[in-house]
Symmetry: C2
Subunit: 197 residues, 2 copies
């Protein structure tokens, strides 16, 4: 059995990443979505091991010391991290793993595991990203402008990404991500092993 | 319009490359199959500009001097080469170009144009390649053994290839080549241009 690979999928707020990921996972038993650990308290309806692995700060600290995270960060007073354990279990079971993380987290993962494939989902244009953020109706005009500035700044550091998927249509974005994942399994390192057996 | 890319597809004799390429091109108006120039005389039924561009030795020599070939070689007293002209025309028209060439030719192309993507079609196993060569019924046992040795030698130099497609089933091989082509269009160099416009 071929071992799975890990794929980071990042993208600015409003780009439509959640919709794309939801479509990508439809009927794909061979994919594993990495669930983060967090010290934040569960919200109504959130289940441990489904939405997050809910753990306390002391446990989180122990996991950091044991180098058990691929990446972690603090956000508004709570800690969030990607446990190596479940990622490795899935890859060893032959599944490809999707990490839905930010640019900073992506840099951490790639320092530890340079073989991780980085995909950045970008908007078709900045005007379109602004339109999408406005149509959500959840943010103030000021917050939308802040998100746009952050998105443009993120793209400046996004040259560490291996691939760019433009989310023009969800269908095409899913097709491109699937193609990238399959193409990565055709890289020599993996395939040469098969032929030398 | 996005410019097309050039993809080299190589593989040992008997691996089933022709069948895979035939399937790949079905209904794909966006692909261009590069037609070689040759000094060999046309065989019965061969058409100029369809099977080959048939030219004389003096013309071939002029094209070499004008650096008009991506690669060229001599084979049993005849010359064969890939004219840049048609490849560039197709790429400028937004088409992806397929070059069906050998490992030596692939090296020449990549010296001139390192951005060319190299795909090697490999057999699922050496036993299977031997079985396929035998089932064609065209070669003597000695010739089959020679082809096998050459195939193994080729694979030793095949680390210059970017991707390996194992031709286990034609359908899967075509799916993998298509995925590689789409994934290559998601590389940052091409996509960052779109977002900086």
């Amino acid at each position: 059995m071929t071992k799975g690979k890990t794929f980071i999928i990042s993208g600015p707020s409003g780009v439509g990443k959640s919709t794309v990921l939801k479509e990508l996972f439809k009927g794909r038993e061979d994919l594993y979505f990495s669930i983060s650990a967090t010290t934040r308290a569960p919200r109504e309806g959130e289940q441990d091991g489904v939405h997050y692995h809910f753990i306390d700060v002391q446990h989180f600290q122990e996991l950091i010391e044991a180098d058990a995270f691929l990446e972690y960060a603090e956000y508004v007073g709570n800690f969030y991290g990607t446990p190596k354990k479940y990622v490795d279990q899935a890859m060893n079971a032959g599944k490809d793993v999707i990490l839905d993380i930010e640019v900073q987290g992506a840099l951490q993962v790639c320092n530890k595991r340079p073989e991780t494939v980085r995909i950045f989902i970008a908007p078709p244009s900045w005007d379109e990203l602004e339109r999408r953020l406005k149509s959500r109706g959840t943010d103030s005009e000021e917050k939308i402008q802040k998100r746009l500035v952050r998105a443009k700044a993120e793209l400046q550091t996004a040259d560490v990404y291996d691939y760019f998927v433009i989310n023009d249509s969800v269908e095409q974005a899913v097709r491109e991500i699937s193609a990238i994942m399959l193409a990565e399994h055709c890289k020599p390192a993996e395939r040469m092993k098969i032929l030398s057996e």
